[in-house]
Structures are given as structure tokens and as C-alpha cells.
Symmetry: C2
Subunit: 232 residues, 2 copies
């Protein structure tokens, strides 16, 4: 967190244009590459390479590495260098556990803090068109819809603390989320679950929404467990 309060780096950057340092840019770009699997887990990253590519001094790269390390995206081994963190099955299960409670909290707060109409746009987004797209395996459309849902919820929840925690976790599970979507049946189930959650939110039932969101993550966890041989 930089010129920031309790919320984390990205928020402030997106809300206040100025003061994006070299380090911040580096962090952002490396984060992008990691979550897009352009730098797959286990990849070695050399400081000097990046310094040259981005035309910055090695110190900046070093600072960026420090932040990425603290976020759990890379691992630094003294005198050996940095490698993209490799997540094991255990870690994913742990992440599912914390996601269950945190995303549950997210939708509860979001529901409590908004008028029912706030959700109409999302309900429309999760309508027949998207259902068809999901049925036809258009995962990009589904992914961006999920992302929008997530973003709207975080904004509505209005907790910088929660946003910070969720953002950190999100980076670590994104690639897995995408792979999980490929498992036959998972996407359409997830779609339906999101519809149900949105209905609960629209009707203002925060407790129900929380419960449904938790069930949603728990079911994703089940699919992961069942297919983790293929997913990891």
C-alpha cells in the first residue's frame, strides 16, 4: 500500500491517476504475466533481464519482487533468484476455504449496503444470452461476466480491508478458475449458482446470499477435488 490507507495498492492506483511509479508498473505487468500463465509456475525470473526489458535499474525490479513476494506470487531463494510460485493441491484447498468465508462476507455486505435495483444490470448480464454462451463453451464471455460480478460486489461491500484480501487471493487462483471452467458441467453449474445469488441479493436477503455464495465456492472445491489430477 503506497500513498494508500488500509486498502491495497491497486485500488488507490485506479482511483487516483497520478503517482504511478516504475515499481508499480513493474508489479502490475509481472502480475499480469503470472496470472495469464505467460510465466508459468516454476519459471525462473532474472533481475537483470527485466531491468533491461523495462529500461529501469535493477533496484526497481528488486522492489517489485519484494512486493510480489509478499503477495505470494513469487518465491525468492537467497542468492539464487526468484521463481513463480508453484501452488500445490493443498494450497488450493486452503484458498477455497478462505474464499468461502471471505466471498460470503462480500455478498452479505454488498447486499446490506445496496438498494435492490443496484443488481438489475448484473441480473440482465446473467440472462439468456450468457446462458447460451456458456452452453456453447464461450468461456471468455463467462469469465468477464464473473469478473464484473465480483467487482460490483466488492465495490458495493465498501470495505477496503476486504477488497485488499480478496485481490490478493484472486491473483493466486485465477489460472485455476480458468482451468476449472473447462471441466464439463462446472461452468453451467457456476452460472446457475450466480443467478441464484443475484436473486437473493436483489430480494435483499443478505444471509441467503451469503449462504449461497459459500455453497458456490464449496461446490467449486468439490469439482477441484474430483478432477485435480487433470487440473494441476
Amino acid at each position: 500500500m503506497n500513498s494508500r490507507n488500509v486498502t491495497n495498492l491497486r485500488d488507490v492506483k485506479s482511483s487516483s491517476k497520478l503517482a504511478v511509479s516504475d515499481t508499480d508498473r513493474l508489479v502490475d505487468e509481472l502480475r499480469r504475466r503470472i496470472v495469464n500463465n505467460q510465466m508459468p509456475p516454476g519459471s525462473r525470473i532474472r533481475e537483470s533481464e527485466l531491468a533491461e526489458e523495462f529500461s529501469v535499474s535493477r533496484s526497481r525490479v528488486r522492489d517489485a519482487f519484494g512486493i510480489l513476494e509478499e503477495r505470494g506470487l513469487i518465491e525468492r531463494i537467497p542468492n539464487k533468484g526468484a521463481v513463480v510460485m508453484r501452488l500445490e493441491a493443498d494450497s488450493f484447498l486452503e484458498l477455497f476455504d478462505v474464499r468461502e468465508v471471505l466471498e460470503g462476507l462480500m455478498v452479505r455486505l454488498a447486499t446490506q449496503n445496496t438498494e435492490p435495483e443496484y443488481w438489475d444490470d448484473l441480473i440482465e448480464l446473467f440472462g439468456n444470452d450468457l446462458e447460451k454462451a456458456v452452453a456453447e463453451n464461450d468461456f471468455n464471455a463467462y469469465m468477464s461476466a464473473i469478473a464484473e460480478f465480483r467487482q460490483s460486489c466488492i465495490n458495493a461491500a465498501g470495505s477496503g480491508t476486504l477488497r485488499g484480501l480478496l485481490d490478493d487471493i484472486y491473483d493466486r487462483v485465477l489460472s485455476m478458475t480458468r482451468r476449472l471452467m473447462l471441466v464439463p458441467g462446472r461452468a453451467s453449474e457456476g452460472f446457475r449458482q450466480h443467478q441464484e445469488i443475484l436473486q437473493a441479493m436483489r430480494s435483499g436477503d443478505a444471509e441467503l446470499a451469503e449462504d449461497l455464495k459459500r455453497k458456490n465456492i464449496r461446490s467449486a472445491r468439490q469439482w477441484f477435488l474430483k478432477y485435480n489430477d487433470f487440473l494441476l
Copy 2:
């Protein structure tokens, strides 16, 4: 999270003796000073001062600042320096919200992963002696008991991811926890709640334990709300 997997810095350091860098030591000491209010919120911290005091180069201090910043303990303002983060009432309420779900998860997992006997020591610790101590306002005894409870739960839960999140939050709320203890009635209520939670854990009822822990945090939140004029 450093030469470390998903867990965070402190864990690894405490489990593997070697490789405690200057930076790590600095982070630890500064963290201690901040949570003990030796450096109260709003305090300005100068890099060169610390560099001299610890006989390290300013770069190390800088690295440490980066980590503390990412953890939300200090705020860095470009070209102006670092100040200890000042938490507002809103932030505390946000922290209570996330604590509620995360500590709930903590006791649920802890209960699931242990044999009933695991909790006997803690149950004894939270016995008549401690009750008397609390009644006589011996807050140090109570604080360390709470800390032990917490640590046992985290260990039993066995999730590095969760531990990392809780540790981060802990640092930010410790000073508030201590102040809240001074409010007449809060300490003894908290004590009783912990006894109940321990009973639930001892009997293996994970769901109940989670529910009780959540109620525990929620009641702390209520007290905070009621007395925040005095607490902040």
C-alpha cells in the same frame, strides 16, 4: 511470504532458524514497536535514524518499510517519508467483519483437525485461576491466554494461507484489543465466550465452535461501537 510458500514471513522464520536477514530483523522490531504503541499512529519515521540505530544501510530500512507498507502497518508518502498508519473507526469495523469470518473458519478447521484431548491444556488455562485474574483486572494474564488460544487454533487449523491472513490482521488490531479490554465488563464476557468456544471444540462440534467464535467477535464489535469515543 518470502523464502516461503504461501505462508507468510514470520512462520518460516520461526520454524527455520537460519537465514534471518537484516531486513527481517528490522521488520520484526518495527512491527513490535508499532503494535506496542511505542510508535503511536501518526509518528513519522526517518530512514536514516533507523539505519544508524540498527547499524545497517538505508537500503535495508527501505526494504523493511516496503514490507510494513504492504502489511498496512505504515504509510509511505512519496518524498515525505513513512508514518505509522492511523486507523479510523471505519477501518476497525471493517477489520471486525473480516475477523468474524476468518476466526470463525479458524476454529472450525481447528476443531475438525484435532482430537478432543488437544484442547485440554487450553481448557485448564481458561479455568478458575484465570477467571479470578480477569475479575481482578489482571489483563496481562488474560492477554497472554488469549494469545495462546489463538496460536493453538492457528496451528491446529493447519492452513498457511489462513495463518498469513490472520497474522496480518492481528498486527493491526492488537492495540485496539488491549484498549477494549479496559471497558468494564468486556474482559469477563470475552473470557466466558472463550470458555464456551473451548467446550464446543472439546466436544468436536466444529459448526458450533465456528458460530460461537463469530458471536464472540460480533460482541466485541458491539462494545467497540458503543465505546469508540473513548477507545479511539
